[in-house]
């Protein structure tokens, strides 16, 4: 859990501008909703006049029910219309918010796709996911409730003033004079109370965090035999929190106290003043009653605005993360070159390939390497030696480093990266299985694949056997992150997906986790078979894999230090043997 600091006033302003700009897709709907809400208010004013007149006629003109029906029927009509308008207005504002959220989520996601995996990794996957999901959802109340409330807080009091002034300017003056007091006091008490209120939420979050942190580490506490002491801690901390919070709340609630006090006292004041004017006959009852009916309605929108404060804050802080994503600059132009049929790649040559990550000296340097068109090539090296970076370069994920790479003696350019990518199938250390059926997961590699092709690919990868034992076979839905499948099964599905692509080059980052022996055996055999007709590059972690490799490339500190077959390398007392025994020797040297 992180507690974000609140944006400053200037930041808030630019964030509000951002939120406004993104309300464009549904601006008309929002306006319509506000218009309906305002119509409701105007009808409310009309209803107050009708009601007051009816009450006046009955009380002081001694009229019968039949004589006031001409007032009551329209009143009934207005009531029905108001109910309709309210329901419609709320419905439309919710609809507008939904549209805005959809559009925003879409533009965020496509921007993220352009920014690429490095951006996401840098900012943390979980955090980015939260922006996309919960962050966008958090905007709902901002658009559906807060924005209309802002409009109402200006429009409705204005409408009431416009009507009241011609009827009775003295009552209008009371309204006019007391109205600014509310925002004034709100700001006065509010700025202090707001920070306090903020503190309260932070403290609550801290307490909540403390508790769940202990639950998370419960097993450890049990093993340390510390649960009983911890129980006392939790009780004590909760109690401390209560005392601290209450002293804060005493002040924080003052803002709403002031607000309510003003509104209530204003209404009471209006009532008393009007009462006396009625008594002295300077005002007729109908007008006085209208003013009394409208008085609470006059202050209501302002008070409601205060209650949407949380929605406002939530929206603004969610927007802060979105602005970062949408404003991030894309380093390279996204190349959407039309897909050519994958040409035969006979030779990949790397000449003086260099790549270092920005702000670090990690990377690869002086890579000179020619890759054949078929065979199994193992890349080994300690962690941080540059294996994955080399892979990323070959996969075209680092467009900055393409000038060291040539395909069939043609230099790789930004335009033909996708051509290269089209001839590569790739399985990372932890392959992503999407939240859909096994069949659909395979079809990502080839949307038009027939059932037969799916089965063949699965069979090659040794996955057909277990897929057929599943009740729904290829239609089995895979849970999030392949939940419900063992590590070996996930790996085999990813392999089948790669095989389905029938790419001339297969690149594989061997899983470091110990798969069950059966899976490991199956996968190794499948790769060996595929390497007979294609080029297979493996970041190897297993002895068996390197033993069968046609060539082993040993990397150290970003450079290639050794190459050869296992039988050769194992006999040389070089980098490879050092790697094999590395950790052992280090400990001995201590």
């Amino acid at each position: 859990m992180t507690i974000k600091s609140r944006p400053t006033r200037a930041q808030q302003q630019s964030l509000r501008a951002f939120l406004k700009q993104h309300s464009q897709p549904a601006a008309t709907w929002l306006k319509l909703s506000i218009a309906l809400g305002t119509c409701n208010a105007i009808l409310m004013i009309a209803a107050a006049y009708l009601l007051a007149q009816a009450v006046h006629n009955v009380m002081f003109e001694h009229q019968r029910l039949e004589q006031v029906t001409y007032l009551l029927w329209p009143l009934a009509g207005i009531i029905i219309l108001r109910a309709l308008f309210i329901a419609l207005s709320e419905r439309i504002s919710a609809y507008a918010a939904l549209k805005i959220k959809s559009a925003l989520r879409q533009s965020l996601l496509s921007k993220l796709m352009m920014l690429g995996p490095h951006y996401i990794e840098k900012h943390g996957q979980g955090a980015t996911l939260n922006v996309l999901h919960d962050g966008v959802e958090a905007l709902h109340d901002y658009y559906a409730k807060y924005l209309p409330a802002v409009a109402y807080s200006a429009l409705i009091p204005l409408a009431i003033l416009v009507v009241i002034f011609p009827t009775d300017y003295k009552a209008g003056l009371i309204f006019l004079l007391t109205a600014p007091l509310i925002p004034f006091f709100m700001i006065l008490v509010g700025s202090k109370a707001e920070t306090l209120n903020q503190q309260r939420w932070q403290q609550l979050a801290l307490l909540s965090n403390y508790f769940f942190d202990r639950v998370q580490g419960l097993t450890q506490l049990k093993l340390f035999n510390a649960t009983r002491t911890e129980l006392k801690h939790i009780a004590k901390i909760s109690d401390d929190f209560r005392h601290a919070t209450l002293s804060v709340l005493k002040i924080a609630f003052l803002s709403s106290f002031a607000l309510e006090f003003l509104a209530t006292i204003s209404v009471a004041l209006v009532a008393v003043i009007i009462g006396f004017r009625l008594f002295f006959g300077t005002l007729d009852f109908a007008t006085g009653f209208v003013v009394l009916l409208l008085a609470p309605e006059f202050y209501l929108p302002l008070r409601q605005l205060g209650s949407h404060y949380h929605a406002r804050l939530q929206g603004i802080s969610a927007a802060a993360d979105m602005v970062d994503i949408l404003n991030a600059s894309v380093d390279t132009q996204e190349q959407q070159a039309p897909l050519n049929d994958s040409k035969n790649i006979n030779r990949i040559t790397l000449t003086d390939l260099n790549f270092t990550y920005p702000n670090s000296n990690e990377g690869i340097k002086n890579i000179n390497l020619t890759l054949p068109d078929k065979g199994l090539i193992a890349i080994v090296g300690a962690s941080g030696s540059g294996k994955s970076t080399l892979f990323d370069c070959l996969l075209g994920f680092h467009p900055q480093a393409i000038n060291g790479i040539s395909i069939n003696d043609q230099p790789l350019t930004a335009q033909n990266i996708s051509e290269l990518q089209n001839s590569v199938a790739w399985i990372p250390q932890k392959p992503t299985l999407f939240y859909q059926s096994i069949g659909d997961n395979l079809k990502i590699a080839d949307p038009e694949a027939t059932q037969q092709q799916l089965e063949y690919a699965a069979q090659q990868a040794g996955a057909l056997e277990f897929i057929s034992t599943l009740k729904n076979g290829f239609n089995t839905l895979i849970g999030e992150q392949g939940e419900g499948l063992s590590g070996g099964q996930k790996q085999r599905i990813a392999l089948a997906r790669a095989f389905l692509k029938q790419a001339p080059i297969l690149m594989l980052d061997e899983p470091t986790a110990h798969l069950d022996s059966h899976s490991e055996h199956v996968i190794q055999n499948a790769i060996k078979a595929y390497a007979k007709n294609n080029l297979v590059l493996v970041i190897a972690h297993r002895l068996n894999t390197v033993k069968h490799a046609d060539n082993i490339i040993v990397m150290h500190n970003g450079e290639i230090t050794e190459q050869g077959k296992y039988s050769q390398l194992a006999q040389q007392n070089g980098a490879f043997t050092a790697l094999l025994n590395s950790s052992v020797e280090r400990v001995h040297n201590d």
Partner: protein, 580 residues
């Protein structure tokens, strides 16, 4: 209903604060209703007196109006303070109770293997219960207290109007919210489902971005996300439509109730069977009376969620109570820590249908260093779990013995067990708190010097020296980030302070870069000096330091011996323990 009553019982300890809050809230509502009604009456009377040219006592009503305005605001302020105090009291009560429950449960029932899931659910459930008093109980009690008072006064003027008003209140406070709540709940399941689906899809897209590029499937995936987002929106729209309709309907009912009261009263005023000024008063009285159920709809909408949360938490509590009854941890013998032998005899454990380990026998002699090796799914982790004593044994025995005593591990008290055996999980949890707090969990009485010594033995000296606040440096979620290697070394420091007779480690060097691996190794060597060690590992560096290796495959021990022996004898073993 039983859950509701159990929730009420939870509140019992703090009933005074809660009742006071309720009374203040009721007072607020009544003052407001009174304020409006009296204002109406006052205006009408003043106008009538003015027209008739008679004197009237206007001091009392004018004073009452001002008085009620002050009462309303003051009691509202007091109410908010008192009710929040009560909420925090309840919150503390719930947390303490939950923690006690969770501590009493054994880890099998907790299914700690998926603890992230449990914690998330628990967090949502506890958060839901936090608001039980403020959002549910309070509005209900306020309605219960204030509606009869309002009805009493209203019926004193006119029983028919009171009846109309009561029907309206019933509609708005109970019937519409109950219907709405049923509708929303029907949808909420789908909503959660779609929300989770969308989240999973987005998460997949972010993790699989590289693969999507390679397979040229980015636009396809983008469309899928859009579709799902749209579907989720449609589902949400059902909720928002229902809420909007309910708001419209509520307005309709309040206003129509007022209109109906007017129609009822006008003939009475005309026939002079009712004082004319009361018409204005009752008109406002009816409008204001609906404030007594203003918060009730929300209470009804939230009630099912809260009850569901309560049910989940109570069922955990019931489980804990049940497991307390077959409590067998009674033996509190002190063992000679330097001479402890552990014997695993015929251990068998199965999850549902799957057998995890079967017929496992081996022993740990005093100060012996033993490693367990095997592929994933071979049963290593199950054995470690059983050795914590927090998972129930299904078959077989784990015996602890020194020269004089022998006892079953699972019949030892927590105290005795924690002295003998300590297990370090792979994902060692660093608590949100200072470094000192973290170390004190294992040794509450450790002095600062002892802690510093343990940190230096655990190879944390260089890191520790760079901390400005030393032992008081805050770690964990809200504090300083700790790397995986550091957290394992902190675990070693904890183990050194605790100095248990037997230490069980789960792949202590797995997933670390070479440098941290080296430091962790050195820390382990320190720990191994004075303890019996059982570790899961495939790291040859560590394996070489072990006296004895137990090789597990499919839940069975398939070979035992020294690392050297096994490496020479079995190619599969060599392959298993060689990795780069």
């Amino acid at each position: 209903m039983t859950n509701f009553i159990r929730l009420l019982k939870l509140c019992r300890t703090h009933y005074k604060a809660m009742l006071l809050g309720t009374l203040l809230a009721t007072l607020t509502v009544l003052a407001n209703v009174g304020l409006l009604a009296i204002s109406g009456w006052f205006l009408a009377s003043m106008a009538a007196a003015g027209i008739a040219g008679v004197q009237m006592n206007y001091f009392t009503p004018a004073g009452t109006i001002r008085f009620l305005a002050i009462v309303r605001t003051a009691s509202r302020y007091g109410e908010r303070l008192v009710t929040h105090n009560a909420t925090f009291l309840l919150l503390s009560e719930i947390r303490v109770k939950m923690f006690a429950t969770l501590s009493a449960l054994n880890n099998h029932d907790l299914a700690m293997s998926r603890s992230a899931d449990l914690v998330n659910r628990l967090q949502n459930d506890v958060d839901a219960l936090d608001k039980f008093y403020l959002n549910i109980l309070l509005p209900m009690l306020v309605a219960l207290f204030s509606v009869p008072v309002i009805m009493l006064f209203m019926s004193a003027y006119n029983a028919n109007v009171a009846l109309i008003c009561f029907m309206g209140i019933l509609c708005i406070g109970v019937i519409i919210p109950a219907l709405l709540s049923i509708k929303l709940n029907k949808n909420s399941h789908k909503e959660t489902q779609l929300s989770a689906q969308l989240r999973a899809e987005l998460s997949d897209t972010l993790t699989g971005l590289r693969e999507l590029s390679i397979y040229q499937a980015r636009n396809q995936q983008l469309n899928k996300c859009d579709n799902l987002s749209e579907q989720y929106n449609q589902q949400l729209f059902i909720r928002h439509k229902a809420l909007a309709n309910a708001d419209g309907l509520s307005l309709l009912i309040v206003q129509l109730a007022m209109l109906a009261s007017m129609v009822t009263l006008i003939p009475l005023v005309y026939t002079n069977s009712m004082v004319n000024v009361e018409l204005a008063m009752l008109c406002l009285f009816v409008l204001a009376s609906f404030e007594s159920v203003l918060q009730l709809p929300n209470a009804f909408i939230e009630l099912p969620n809260v009850l569901k949360a309560a049910q989940r938490l109570f069922s955990l509590e019931d489980k804990a109570l049940a497991s307390k009854h077959n409590h067998t941890q009674t033996i509190d013998t002190a063992f000679d820590k330097n001479n402890i032998t552990i014997n695993l005899k015929n251990i068998r454990y199965q999850y549902d249908e799957q057998i995890a380990v079967d017929n496992v026998n081996f022993s740990l002699k005093p100060k012996q260093k033993v490693a367990m090796v095997g592929t994933s799914g071979s049963g290593k982790t199950t054995l470690v779990n059983l050795l914590t004593g927090l998972w129930p044994l299904q078959q077989g025995q784990i015996l602890i013995s020194d020269e004089t005593n022998t006892a079953q591990l699972h019949s030892l008290t927590n105290n005795a067990r924690a002295d003998i055996i300590n297990v370090l999980a792979q994902q060692h949890h660093i608590f949100d708190g200072t470094l000192k707090d973290n170390l004190r969990y294992s040794a509450p009485k450790a002095t600062n010097d002892e802690m510093r010594h343990a940190l230096s033995l655990a190879q944390l000296q260089p890191w520790f020296e760079n901390l400005d606040e030393g032992l008081n440096t805050r770690l964990g979620t809200a504090g300083r980030k700790v790397s995986q290697g550091q957290s394992r070394r902190i675990a070693m420091a904890q183990a050194l302070l605790k100095a248990p007779a037997v230490l069980v480690l789960d792949e202590p060097t797995e997933g670390l870069d070479n440098q941290s691996k080296q430091s962790v190794m050195q820390a382990i060597m320190q720990v191994m000096n004075n303890a019996t060690v059982l570790t899961i590992t495939h790291d040859p560096a560590l394996l070489r330091h072990m006296d004895h290796i137990v090789w597990l495959e499919n839940g069975h021990v398939i070979a035992q011996g020294s690392h050297q022996e096994l490496s020479e004898k079995f190619d599969d073993y060599l392959a298993l323990t060689t990795q780069f």
